[in-house]
Each structure stands twice: as structure tokens, then as C-alpha cells.
Symmetry: none
Subunit: 208 residues, 2 copies
């Protein structure tokens, strides 16, 4: 559409390219919005301008699990995983990598104190079984319930989910509204266009 048919390849002229991007971006956002309204569906759009700027759209109002959020989660999980691995290395050190007696002594110390903890609890249990006198402290212990830090919500794609899972601290990841300014501006323009050119309400993009 337009005065001439554009060949389907990268527009070399940077000015035209940027101009085309701006127009078509608006067009796609508008269509995405229309689709979400007409068909009552969730639509999410993410794109980068030729200059690298990110724009995203989500018909759900709630921002989508966009790349930044997911990358963020990945980072955090990676860090956590590395921590666990490091910890495990103390218990399961690669023998080949131990290069000094001092080092192995450290590992040994580590395991020794771990084993002592076990023996302590074993002794306690034996004491409870054979000499029923210190029962009261055990009762109290049984109720201790800790949050499981390993539980991370299922990540399967599902329309009910919409990225509301949390990390182990329970703090949700930047889920506030965050449509980019350029997008909102585009919306405004678009709404003006619509208002001027048609009879139907301009409610379309006002998810917020």
C-alpha cells in the first residue's frame, strides 16, 4: 500500500527506514489491539526499533513477561544455581582438583561438622526412644515449617499464568505497568486519528 510497492528487503536509506518503522509499528500495534478486542484474546508484542529502543504491547494491561523480566529471572536463578553448586563442591569435591593438604583439611572439617549435626540428632532420637524425659523440646520442633526456596512456579505457557510467578523471596519481579513512552505517544496519536476518522469509540488502547 502506498504510492509504490516496496520490495521486500531491508530499506537501505536510514531515514526512510526509520519512517517506515514508525508507521508500520503503529499499524501493527493498532492491529494487535483490534485483534485482542474483536476476538477477545491476549496479544503481546515486543519489538526493537532500528535504533535499538524496545517497545512492547500487551492487551492484558498487565505487562507481559517480557525479555527483560525473563532475562532477569534467568540471571537470578543462575546465580542461585551457582551457589548451590559451589556449596555442593564442599561436600563432593572433585578429588583431582584438591591441590593442597590444607585445602582437603578444610573440606574435611566441613563434612565433619555436618556429620556431627547428624549424630546429634541421632543421639537426640535415641535419647527420646530410650529415655523418655526430654520430650517437650521435640514436640516444639515438629511444627517448624520453612518455606521451600526451591519451589518455583511452573513455567509452562498458559494463558492464566501471565508471568505472575515469583522468585524464592516472594518478591514479584517488576510487574508494574510499564508501557514505553513512545508507545503511549503512538497510542495518543492513533486515538486522535481514530477519533477524527470514525464514529466508534476511541477506547481501543486504553487498557490502563
Amino acid at each position: 500500500m502506498g504510492r509504490k510497492k516496496l520490495p521486500m528487503r531491508r530499506i537501505e536509506n536510514p531515514t526512510s527506514r526509520q519512517a517506515t518503522y514508525a508507521k508500520r509499528k503503529d499499524g501493527i500495534f493498532k492491529k494487535a489491539n483490534e485483534l485482542s478486542i474483536l476476538c477477545d484474546t491476549d496479544v503481546a508484542l515486543i519489538m526493537f526499533s532500528p535504533t535499538g529502543r524496545l517497545t512492547s504491547f500487551s492487551s492484558t494491561g498487565r505487562p507481559i513477561n517480557n525479555e527483560e523480566d525473563l532475562e532477569d529471572k534467568l540471571d537470578k536463578l543462575n546465580r542461585k544455581q551457582r551457589e548451590s553448586q559451589d556449596k555442593l563442591r564442599y561436600y563432593e569435591p572433585n578429588a583431582d582438583k584438591i591441590t593442597s593438604v590444607l585445602e582437603s583439611g578444610v573440606y574435611q572439617h566441613f563434612l565433619t561438622s555436618a556429620i556431627q549435626r547428624i549424630q546429634l540428632s541421632k543421639a537426640k532420637l535415641l535419647g527420646n526412644q530410650l529415655v523418655p524425659e526430654t520430650t517437650e523440646n521435640v514436640e516444639g520442633n515438629t511444627t517448624v515449617q520453612m518455606e521451600d526456596t526451591t519451589s518455583v512456579t511452573d513455567q509452562s505457557i498458559d494463558r492464566n499464568k501471565n508471568g505472575m510467578d515469583e522468585d524464592e523471596s516472594g518478591k514479584s519481579l517488576s510487574m508494574g505497568p510499564h508501557l514505553s513512552l513512545s508507545f503511549i505517544e503512538a497510542q495518543r496519536k492513533l486515538n486522535n486519528q481514530l477519533a477524527a476518522s470514525s464514529d466508534h469509540s476511541t477506547s481501543s488502547f486504553n487498557n490502563y
Copy 2:
């Protein structure tokens, strides 16, 4: 566009709605693709059909930052992390959750074999340094002592918070994670020791 102008509201007729969805979805995907080509940008699109089916598009052939892929990575990492946590529980069991002597014996066994590995490597080091004998047989028996109960399914979410269910694999002992203070302090000391005493890069903790 079309024979008549469509009012911008949800299409009530389910058949028309589905039909419109199919057409417009294709249209948007086409436009997204065109935009990515003409303007040399990354575009990602995610939408749900009225029946709940997911469709997504990413202009980057390598769909790395596509949500699905990130979700996928998250899934895998989560599984790995859960594995590590499960393993760690054998070394750092929550003493309060150990309810039988038999159980504590299991933990003790793990720690004992771990400590034996250390002692072996220590002996090897000492042997190399002082008494060169009985060194060769230790090579390469680094780990692999616990059965890798990695068969945690995608959908499994930790729901069994209460102590000792008899899962035959023994993996879901389901004790809450518990970084004991003494453990953390020991780590800190260890780091200090390592940093002070050796040239090799500090092996753990606070890598990030």
C-alpha cells in the same frame, strides 16, 4: 477493510470470531515479518486464539529471546536447581525434620562416604609429598554416589511440605532449606582461608 466496516468490539458470533481471528492473525504475522525485514529489527509476537491456543512469532531465527525459549531455559534451570537442593539436603539435613534413627543413619552414610573421599585425596597428597605409595587407585573416582533422581516432572510443584512421605526414590524428603548460620560462617572463614593461603582463585561463594 472488507465489505463492511466492523464495529470495534468483541465479535459475538463464535464462528465469525474464530474466522476473523484466523485471518487477522495471519495478517499481523505477515506484517510483523515485513517490518522485521524492511526495518531490520527484532519483532516478537505472542497471542492466544479464542480457544486458548498459543501462537508466537519471532523474527530472530535463533529465537533466543522468545518467551517460550526463555521459559524453557527457566524450566531447565529450575529443575537443575531443585536437583542441587535435593542433593544438598543430604549433606545439610534439617535436624529437626529427622524423625528416625534409620533416617539419620542414611544421612550419616552419605556424609561418611563424602569424608572418606576427602581423606583419600588427602592421603594421596600426603603420599605424593611424603610417602609415595598407594596413589594410583584413587584416580577418577570423583563423584557419582547418589542416584540422580532427576525425574522431576515439569508440572510438579512442591506441595508436600510435611516431613516424611515414603517416596521410594527418597528424594522428596521435603525438608525446608535451611542455610544454617554456622554453615555460612564456616563458608566465610573458608573463603578467607583460601584467599589468604593460596594462589588459585577463590573457589566459591560470592562469585556473584
